[in-house]
């Protein structure tokens, strides 16, 4: 949040005066729910969440919770933390699906970890508004499938007019892709799975040593690609490897073992075939949307994979992922609902798009649960959140009401 607060701090004096004149700060609101899923302990019946200056200052039964004077109180049947989409391309991939709004893939070279997500994100993209209205307050978004190392990802809130206002983590992960989706055509490399791994290992080895000056002294020439990969090698950010088939998941785990890096397995259609290996490696999974089309590398995908991972004790979260055609994005609320109906249940499905998702994207200190000190990000519903006939009745991001028309 610090980046955005800085940005807001830099606003003109006129704005500051306007804010002072308001009866309560724009980032103050209280939300009362018949059921409040805090995702930190038991759900609260008739609960209240108080947000002041964008931060949660009180959570508890309504009868025990004091309200600041003049604060706006919103009400809903069900209240949850703001939803988290653990991996998306929304904001880089636009809804028109025309060349001008598809910035999730740069295909000039197979390894480009230096591509920053912040340089491609359009906070005013209609899909951002679309998922926000459906409860998503945080996106882990960035470069997509289609290249061996397609670029960087970042964490943003779905609110803010500039990327500086929206961003939480300018660099969250480096996105790598294994399998047929990241093979190049004709005689370009990589043309095989073996070549993918050889190139990936080579790139990490090349990045391992700092650049040396060409002439033996003086400053070395910076190498943006190496700098980005060193963030992974130094343990600052994980390598997110999108791998669908069991063999590709295991290749990724070999890479983790060899370089001792943090890793997140993404996609993972075959995850249920390699449960022991995933558990032993201690890697979390950002699972494909259950309704991702079950063909090609996803031909073994199943609506039940999430409940299988849950039973196996492997941490996972849901993603909207990347869609190349219609519909242009999945909605994690609706995807988690499919898993909820196929063995995961409401609590487990909710965790996969709130608390567990926050942990996997490294944001658990700020978001994912309704606890004092965390961001005031809230989704409101008029029924069980996963009932497809129900509605999201309100969305709050850091105390700002960003949506209140039933969606």
């Amino acid at each position: 949040m610090s980046l955005r607060m800085k940005a807001i701090g830099a606003l003109s004096a006129a704005t500051a005066i306007f804010a002072l004149a308001a009866p309560a700060l724009a980032q103050d609101v209280a939300v009362r729910g018949e059921i409040v899923y805090t995702m930190a302990g038991e759900a609260i019946s008739d609960g209240m969440v108080v947000i002041e200056d964008g931060i949660i200052t009180a959570v508890g039964p309504t009868s025990d919770t004091a309200l600041p004077d003049g604060i706006r109180v919103m009400t809903a049947r069900v209240v949850t933390p703001g939803l988290i989409d653990a991996h998306s391309t929304v904001g880089l991939a636009g809804y028109l699906n025309q060349p001008g709004d598809q910035d999730q893939l740069e295909s000039s070279s197979p390894i480009q970890p230096e591509l920053r997500a912040i340089d491609a994100y359009n906070p005013n993209e209609r899909l951002v508004e679309w998922v926000r209205g459906l409860g998503v307050t945080t996106l882990h978004t960035g470069h997509g499938p289609g290249a061996l190392v397609s670029g960087q990802t970042m964490v943003v809130k779905t609110h803010g007019e500039t990327v500086a206002q929206a961003v939480e983590r300018p660099l969250a992960m480096i996105a790598a892709n294994l399998g047929t989706g990241a093979l190049e055509s004709e005689s370009k490399a990589p043309g095989t799975r073996s070549k993918q791994m050889a190139m990936l290992r080579g790139a990490l080895i090349a990045a391992a040593s700092p650049e040396k000056p060409d002439d033996g002294d003086g400053p070395a020439t910076r190498n943006l690609q190496h700098e980005a990969l060193r963030e992974v090698l130094n343990g600052n950010v994980p390598l997110m490897v999108t791998a669908w088939r069991a063999q590709d998941i295991l290749s990724a785990l070999r890479l983790k073992e060899e370089f001792g890096i943090d890793m997140v397995i993404d996609g993972a259609a075959d995850a249920y075939m390699v449960l022991d290996e995933l558990r032993e490696a201690g890697v979390p999974v950002i699972l494909h949307p259950p309704r991702a089309r079950q063909y090609g590398e996803l031909e073994n995908a199943s609506f039940t994979t999430a409940s299988t991972l849950s039973e196996a004790g492997i941490p996972f979260a849901f993603q909207s992922g990347y869609e190349g055609y219609v519909p242009k994005t999945r909605v994690v609320l609706w995807e988690a609902g499919v898993a909820a109906a196929n063995g995961l249940g409401t609590q487990g499905a909710l965790a996969s798009i709130t608390s567990d998702a926050a942990r996997i994207i490294g944001m658990e200190d700020e978001i994912g649960t309704l606890e004092v000190g965390k961001h005031g990000d809230i989704a409101m519903f008029d029924s069980d959140p996963f009932e497809i006939t129900g509605h999201v009745t309100g969305v709050v991001i850091e105390g700002v009401v960003v949506s209140e028309n039933p969606r």
Binding site: R291, Y325, P327, V331
Partner: protein, 438 residues
């Protein structure tokens, strides 16, 4: 259609239809009556019945109601706590690896979907697992006219002959797939480059077939024969169309050539619902999770089905499988309810309305005595996320049973339920066509 024309049509259908009509129908597997008892029955044609019974025999519904008489020899299936409703009628699907016209020309009315469908494809098993019992399987939308569609009942069978829906004369039934807007437009030689050219090519094709329809041409022509069937109202036009102005173009063509029309998709149909209603034209609609993915889907809204319902349009909801998985049809109907459609309207849109649109309401689409025993058994509210489909029955046969672990795989995905991407042919084709347009 004049007599000579009919004779020619029958000759055309000799391999497929007229001859087969004389082959005796197979004995129904289900000659012992089956009674589902204690269920909540949603007949769709009337109000829901609690704690009611439905009896089926020889592929037909023989009794339904709270006091339905159960034959002595009936197999009793306790359906307490279950909901029983008609099988889903999917008015627009691409299951079975269907294809149609090739890239040699934009108008190919002579090609038939039935000649490309693989009845053993797992997409058909998955559709059964989703409760689909009747399907209009269509070629894609990359042509102005991509061929004859195929109406299919998802019986436990693996040949086209055995899956076909037949008319009284024994002919296999289907419509004609047409499309306008951006999908048929492209660089391929002979294909239109603009909307106006698209309409002109279609008009020329219909006008060119007129002398043939009037019996003034002797040499048999498969393409003109099919166009004559369309203009005679014997072959329903399934018109892929999205943008409001493209919808109006489809209505204009219908006016000029007098064909029966079912608007397909109609992403912007909610915006011109009153005009569609005034024309008395039905809509087979799609509800999408998000806008975009192609220019024509940019204004997709989950509320348009409700707009059509309010305007009095006969609306069905379809899968367009693989755009929406056949197993998600109840869910997409739920999304339409989220967008303001009535619950009753949404369930009708999955069943009876589609049956009416395909001209099959006498045999399917609702649970009534005398209709086909096509039904689904659910463990709860059809529109609840948490409800799982337990059984699908087609003409008295249990064609999907979740309690069988092997079949349950078809309900969830998992190993063995796909066909190495072959069933994605249609989608790949559309996506590739879109890319080539760019």
């Amino acid at each position: 259609m004049k007599l000579g024309q009919f004779a020619r049509g029958c000759a055309l259908a000799a391999f497929a239809g007229c001859a087969l009509a004389t082959i005796p129908a197979p004995l129904f597997a289900q000659d012992r009556p089956v009674a589902f008892t204690g269920a909540t029955i949603m007949p769709i044609s009337g109000p829901a019945l609690d704690d009611a019974t439905i009896v089926i025999q020889n592929g037909i519904i023989t009794a339904i109601g709270k006091d339905a008489v159960i034959p002595e020899d009936a197999e009793i299936r306790d359906a307490q706590g279950k909901v029983i409703m008609p099988g889903i009628v999917d008015t627009h699907s691409h299951i079975g690896q269907v294809s149609g016209a090739d890239r040699s020309a934009p108008i190919q009315p002579e090609v038939r979907a039935m000649d490309s469908i693989n009845p053993r494809d797992s997409s058909i098993d998955k559709a059964r697992a989703g409760g689909v019992t009747t399907v209009n399987v269509m070629p894609g939308s990359g042509h102005l006219m991509s061929g004859q569609t195929f109406y299919m009942k998802l019986r436990e069978a693996d040949t086209i002959d055995a899956l076909a829906v037949r008319g009284e004369d024994g002919r296999m039934l289907g419509g004609m797939k047409m499309a306008n807007g951006t999908n048929p437009i492209g660089e391929t030689p002979g294909f239109p480059g603009t909307r106006a050219k698209s309409a002109a090519l279609v008009r020329q094709a219909f006008i060119g077939a007129q002398p043939y329809c009037d019996g003034r041409e002797e040499t048999r022509d498969l393409a003109k024969e099919a166009l004559c069937e369309v203009m005679a109202g014997e072959r329903l036009v399934h018109f892929h169309t999205h943008r409001a102005d493209d919808i109006m173009t489809a209505l204009r063509l219908r006016e000029e050539f007098g064909f029966d029309l079912l608007l397909q998709h109609g992403v912007e149909s909610g915006d011109v619902a009153a005009r569609i209603a005034a024309a008395g034209v039905p809509v087979s609609h799609i509800v999408l999770d998000s806008p975009g993915g192609k220019l024509e889907a940019m204004n997709s809204r989950i509320s348009s089905a409700a707009d059509l319902e309010r305007a009095g349009v006969l609306v069905s909801l379809h899968s367009d499988d693989p755009i929406i998985d056949s197993r998600m049809m109840l869910r997409q109907a739920g999304l339409a309810v989220r967008g303001g459609m009535s619950r009753e309207g949404a369930l009708r849109a999955l069943t009876l309305n589609g049956a009416m649109q395909l001209g099959m309401e006498d045999s399917i689409g609702s649970l009534e005595v005398g209709k086909d025993a096509d039904l689904i058994v659910l463990d709860g509210d059809p529109l609840s996320t948490f409800t799982l489909l337990q059984e699908t029955w087609v003409e008295g046969d249990l064609v999907f049973d979740r309690s069988d672990p092997e079949q349950a795989e078809f309900a969830t995905g998992g190993a063995g339920t796909t066909s190495q991407g072959r069933s994605m042919h249609h989608l790949e084709f559309e996506a590739a066509a879109m890319e080539s347009d760019q």
